[in-house]
């Protein structure tokens, strides 16, 4: 993730005064974005944002009862700007949303997604389906890419309450949405994290196995990619680990997260830095 000093310029939302009421012809319905468009001025950027290496690593992986997502905590601006950024958030009770790209745009993206899903639920009295949430993000990404010089590429993973299984959706920078059958990675640490997942993934893993593999993938990325922050034993900052199952979104407690990374680190120390053993 890269920080940007242009956060203020990204706030494209203008507050209007009074009760927003519409007649039946112009009513924007339960979509928060459609409603905001009523109050959004034309953007000035005309072009497509350059793709940058998104200084981040977030992985997600499907297991028997849901999905696990692990993400590093570092933000860079040519140097390490932040060490404790939270790049994964609960978009709602049943889905986790992670971001890579420009920090300002990404964090605003998460806020809009969270708000939109809750807005839909309150307006209609029912939850948006997981696929509905995934599709909703596409035009939002396209708009960011074409109306600002900043790129945000999110990753959505959640529990589909209708199908009773975890599902993962990946995006490209212009909003294409592709469901992934097994796992997904975003950010500059992708080659290292993805290799780890490729070698370690098995169908129907337990939650515990899935968490260990996903944590290892981010550990590998932190070890090899200069823009990904691995576990920080000096400051006690560790990548975020979250799961989404039938019971909803859950973030692992600090003690459990730190313990998992401590074990990986001890194993790696014991083998002199080489990746050895069963779960490397």
């Amino acid at each position: 993730m890269r920080t940007s000093s242009f956060a203020a310029t990204c706030k494209r939302v203008v507050n209007r005064v009074g009760l927003p009421l519409f007649d039946s012809g112009t009513d924007p319905g339960p979509s928060f974005i459609a409603f905001l468009n009523e109050a959004t001025p034309d953007s000035v950027f005309r072009g497509v944002a350059e793709e940058l290496a998104h200084a981040t690593t977030v992985v997600s992986l499907r297991f028997a009862d849901g999905v696990v997502m692990v993400g590093d905590r570092q933000a860079t601006a040519g140097y390490i700007a932040e060490r404790d950024v939270r790049k994964i958030a609960a978009a709602d009770r049943y889905c986790a949303l992670a971001i890579s790209g420009t920090a300002a745009t990404g964090l605003e993206f998460i806020r809009i997604a969270q708000l939109s899903f809750e807005h839909y639920e309150k307006m209609t009295g029912r939850l948006l389906s997981l696929e509905g949430k995934a599709n909703y993000l596409s035009p939002l990404i396209y708009r960011t890419t074409t109306t600002t010089p900043f790129v945000v590429v999110p990753m959505l993973a959640g529990y589909d309450t209708a199908r009773k299984q975890g599902r993962i959706f990946r995006y490209d920078r212009i909003g294409g949405c592709y469901e992934q059958p097994n796992f997904d990675v975003i950010g500059s640490g992708t080659p290292f994290a993805e290799s780890t997942l490729r070698l370690g993934f098995r169908e129907g893993m337990t939650k515990d196995e899935a968490i260990n593999l996903a944590a290892l993938a981010v550990y590998e990325a932190g070890d090899n990619d200069p823009s990904t922050g691995g576990p920080d034993f000096v400051r006690n900052i560790f990548p975020m680990i979250v799961t989404v199952t039938e019971d909803g979104f859950e973030e692992l407690a600090f003690e459990e997260t730190s313990e998992r990374f401590r074990i990986i680190n001890q194993r790696r120390t014991a083998s002199g830095g080489r990746a050895e053993g069963d779960l490397r």
Binding site: V13, K122, G125
Partner: protein
């Protein structure tokens, strides 16, 4: 050639008020009441899906009686206003009093300038926080706004029901006690309301950001049986 007749302003207001009151009187009533840990809304509503009580924001609920399409539009406007205000500023800046004022302005404007007055009455309910006590804002069909610290009744027989609620009202009653009291007040002595004709929701702090919850028929049955 058409002739326009002079109508005294007093007469016009009286006619409009009578029109709106008639519309509201056709609908069934609802009660919002403070209890020990929050605020509960008990509505007589035979419809399963056309709600009278809804969530507006983290600590704010909406209740309306009268013409469904008219108060539902107000509900939607309220959710949009709240979500947009919270997004622009902060979640704590979304204030029920401001929303109640917007409702009062709109309903008042429709009463004086509209083609016809809105046939609705609404409540905006704010759950207590560290800074303030729970409040129930009542907006009448002509835009009059009042705030009630303990309970409010809107709908057809509101005067009668209000008197029944006021009898032995206890703001420190438990959740189920208050529901039982409200259901009894709503139905009166002559009839009993079946569970499927009741719509009950509450605002209460249970350690989560959102405090609104709608009760299922099973939960209502259990409370009424206890």
């Amino acid at each position: 050639m058409s002739m326009s007749y002079y109508v005294a302003p007093e007469q016009m207001i009286r006619d409009k008020a009578e029109f709106a009151q008639k519309g509201i009187a056709r609908g069934r009533s609802l009660i919002a009441a403070v209890y020990q840990a929050g605020v509960v809304v008990v509505a007589e509503n035979p419809s399963v899906s056309l709600n009278k009580v809804s969530e507006i924001y983290d600590r704010i609920a909406f209740a309306g009686v009268g013409k469904y399409n008219e108060y539902d539009r107000l509900r939607e406007g309220g959710i949009r206003w709240a979500d947009q205000t919270g997004f622009t500023y902060s979640r704590e800046d979304v204030d029920a009093r401001a929303l109640a004022n917007y409702y009062a302005q709109h309903i008042g404007d429709m009463f004086t300038d509209g083609a016809k007055p809105l046939e609705v009455e609404v409540l905006v309910i704010q759950l207590a926080s560290a800074q303030q006590a729970s409040k129930i804002y009542h907006v009448a069909f002509e835009g009059t706004i009042t705030d009630e610290p303990q309970f409010a009744v809107i709908g057809g027989e509101s005067e009668l029901i209000r008197a029944r609620v006021a009898e032995q009202f206890d703001p420190a009653a438990s959740f189920s006690e208050q529901i039982q009291h409200c259901v009894t007040a709503l139905s009166g002595a002559e009839r009993t309301l079946p569970v499927q004709d009741l719509e009950i929701a509450r605002l209460e702090d249970i350690g989560e950001r959102r405090t609104f919850k709608r009760l299922t028929d099973a939960e209502v049955s259990e409370i009424l049986a206890s």
